[in-house]
Amino acid sequence: MIIKAKSDRFQTRRGLAHLNITVKFSPPFREDVGVREETYEIGQNPANVASVLNMIVRRHSCMGKFVDAVSDEAQRHQMVVVLNSRLARLSDEVHDGDSVSLLLPVMGGAKKR
């Protein structure tokens, strides 16, 4: 029981630990948000790519039109998300120190800018 309680406390502490994620914006998103790169501190752990996208939209509402979390395919039509050099799925877990790059989709369909 004691061991379990310790384990629970440990999980709780982990749950509160912050993750630092670097987000890189490629053109033309960079012009929209006004920065090349920024760091996001995520209080939720574990977190996934979809939650990172939501945080980006909270900080930069102009990015909202490029996020379509209905499905991976729908998202890829709006914006390509690369997690540590790999094309990411919305459900992919992110870890402390990860890098997320937002790229223009190969052939996408966001609303006309």
Partner: protein, 615 residues
């Protein structure tokens, strides 16, 4: 026969004679059109003994059943011949409006044999073909010749023509279409084939309607899919193909410094479609039946490169004449692109051979006729533009580089073959197999050499799915399992697209095989099912392979440059990745039912109905 003109025009330049051959429904259904029908004719009319620059080579222009109809993004045609660059099967899928004009003149294709005694151009219209004197056009570039040809024939006519590079038999010469809109049959040196025949241009114009079997269904399908394609390709419309320069750089896909480096971030941003849209872009260009308009029309009205006006650089230009030579001046790249168009040079091979030359110069092994070392600097716009000019004119070292990297490296020697990147003689396009694992096997087994379009497999490792061929989700680009199968499946699929004459960008628009099949059946009135159409794609790909086998191609030729297979770049989005190769190639052969030496088995050929190839 609905969807087809039902006629092939045979032109003998030696005899200055023409004949019309009827196209049978059986042949059309077996090989569809475009790439498939061209492959069949090339198989029948040329072979191992054919000199690609001899009068016996055959130059084929072929439309597809969808060309000239209302099917979105279908205004395309194929050009094929035995390649003087590779010595094997050569073909190009071309956009623009020439194919539509030919079809509306009443011909599905033109098959050109022989060699004219004098410089000639062909004027094809609804009355047939005229052989016309082209002596006054010889030496003119493609932008200069276009208005003259239209004035001499019909202002609405469209020409396929060569520039000085093709006239002077550069093995990297292209055939250009649509004047300043410059749609290229770029790869494989087919411009040199045209030049070897003393043929300056083929001009086409027609008003005949392409009749379709079920106009109502076709209209409904077009109304249903058109808006979907339009929605999904808005980015492509807005920024053109070079929109992917920055993503390609981020993912390690962009060739940098003759395929040596993995990062070029600032340079990529300077050459991106976004930058172009904000600087030199004037308007968009639409191929026949296109609703997307990814083509770029640019103009530069001041500065060192003032006067550039017409088709703007594409992604491949930015990759090979930009990143690969470290040239980050957008206007200089646009100038180099225009010079390639004017001289009739393949932009990709030209950029690749200049990248090779720069590395040779850097290593001190590039010398002039007097044996003096030549200094060339990476990223020097002026000297790179000058190199394009000298290749186009075939002057000085430009003569050698117009032969492509394989021959140039053999001539220079001193170990430079190690950084002369090509497959079967064709320089790779601007996509790195270290960024998309399927590309290694794709380049090795591409029937025209290193080609990203014959399989287009990397698109399925990036954003595209195709449930009809079992690709239910986007594939892992660094994955190592079943890459051979992926390549084989997509090569067969793209054989169909190139035969129907459907733009591959429809895939990014959301078009699936099911839709393509519905279009084909509505146009032709056939009832082709999925199994039959997939078998047809496989038949076409295998026939081209057998053409190459007949030319001596085996496993030993199915290779990828060592730099792409063995050298990690250590930086960028694919820093540590090397693509799997030998096992993937085995798996590819096995999936295709080819033997260990890469030869299609007799059983497979008979199953595909390629009886002649099996015997």
């Amino acid at each position: 026969m609905k969807g087809y003109a039902g006629k092939l025009l045979h032109v003998n330049l030696t005899k200055q004679e023409s004949q019309v051959e009827g196209l049978t429904e059986h042949e059309a259904r077996m090989f569809i059109g475009g790439s498939g029908l061209a492959a069949k004719r090339l198989w029948e009319m040329t072979g191992n003994e054919t000199d690609p620059l001899g009068s016996e080579n055959v130059l084929i222009f072929m439309t597809g059943p969808l060309t000239g109809t209302k099917v979105p993004l279908s205004g395309r045609h194929e050009v094929a011949a035995k390649s003087p660059l590779t010595g094997v099967y050569g073909e190009c899928d071309v956009g623009g409006r020439w194919g539509t004009e030919l079809k509306k003149a009443g011909f599905d294709g033109v098959v050109i044999t022989g060699k004219s005694a004098r410089h000639t151009y062909l004027w094809i219209n609804e009355n047939g073909v005229e052989f016309r004197d082209a002596r006054h056009l010889w030496g003119l570039d493609t932008y200069e010749v276009s208005p003259i040809l239209r004035a001499e024939t019909d202002q609405k006519a469209i020409e396929a023509c060569i520039g000085p590079a093709g006239e002077r038999l550069a093995r990297i010469a292209s055939i250009m279409h649509d004047g300043r809109d410059a749609r290229a049959a770029g790869r494989c040196g087919l411009g040199a084939v045209m030049g070897s025949k003393n043929l300056k241009a083929v001009v086409a114009r027609g008003d005949k309607e392409v009749t379709v079997a079920d106009p109502k269904s076709l209209s409904e399908l077009t109304k249903e899919l058109g808006p979907v394609i339009l929605k999904n390709t808005r980015r492509l419309a807005e920024y053109g193909t070079s929109q992917v320069v920055t993503p390609a750089e981020e993912l390690g896909d962009l060739p940098v410094r003759n395929w040596k480096k993995g990062r070029w971030q600032e340079g990529a941003e300077k050459l991106s479609g976004v930058t172009m849209a904000r600087t030199i872009l004037k308007s968009r260009y639409f191929c026949g039946a296109c609703i997307v308009g990814c083509g770029r029309t640019v103009a530069i009205d001041h500065g060192e490169y003032a006067g550039v006006e017409g088709a703007g650089p594409e992604y491949e230009t930015m990759a090979l004449l930009g990143a690969n030579v470290l040239l980050d001046d957008l206007e200089a790249v646009a100038k180099a692109h225009e010079l390639c168009n004017r001289y009739g040079l393949d932009v990709l091979s030209t950029g690749a051979v200049i990248g090779f030359a720069l590395e040779a110069a850097e290593r001190g092994i590039l010398r002039d006729a007097q044996g003096r070392k030549i200094d060339l600097d990476w990223g020097d716009g002026k000297s790179i533009v000058n190199m394009v000019e000298s290749i186009g004119r075939r002057e000085n070292l430009g003569y050698l580089f117009g032969e492509g990297v394989m021959r140039a490296s053999a001539e220079i020697g001193e170990g430079c073959e190690a950084f002369a990147l090509h497959v079967k003689g064709l320089e790779p396009p601007g996509h790195d197999p270290r960024a998309y694992n399927s590309l290694a096997v794709g380049y090795a087994t591409g029937n025209r050499g290193a080609c990203h379009l014959q399989g287009f497999s990397y698109a399925f490792e990036r954003s595209v799915t195709m449930p009809e061929i079992g690709i239910l989700e986007v594939q892992d680009r660094f994955g190592t399992i079943k890459k051979g199968e992926l390549v084989a499946k997509t090569q067969d699929l793209m054989s169909l697209f190139d035969s129907l004459k459907l733009c591959k960008f429809t895939l990014y628009g959301g078009l699936k095989l099911t839709h393509a099949l519905k279009f084909l059946n509505a146009v032709t009135g056939w009832d082709i099912g999925q199994a039959e159409i997939l078998k047809t794609g496989e038949r076409i790909y295998n026939l081209k392979r057998m053409y190459n086998v007949r030319c001596g191609i085996t496993r030993k030729d199915d290779t990828v440059p060592t730099r792409m297979l063995r050298e990690k770049r250590g930086e960028g989005g694919a820093a540590e990745n090397l693509p799997p190769f030998a096992e993937a190639l085995d798996e590819y052969y096995q999936y295709r039912d080819w033997d260990q030496n890469g030869i299609p088995t007799k059983t497979k050929l008979l199953e595909l109905g390629l009886v002649d190839a099996a015997s």
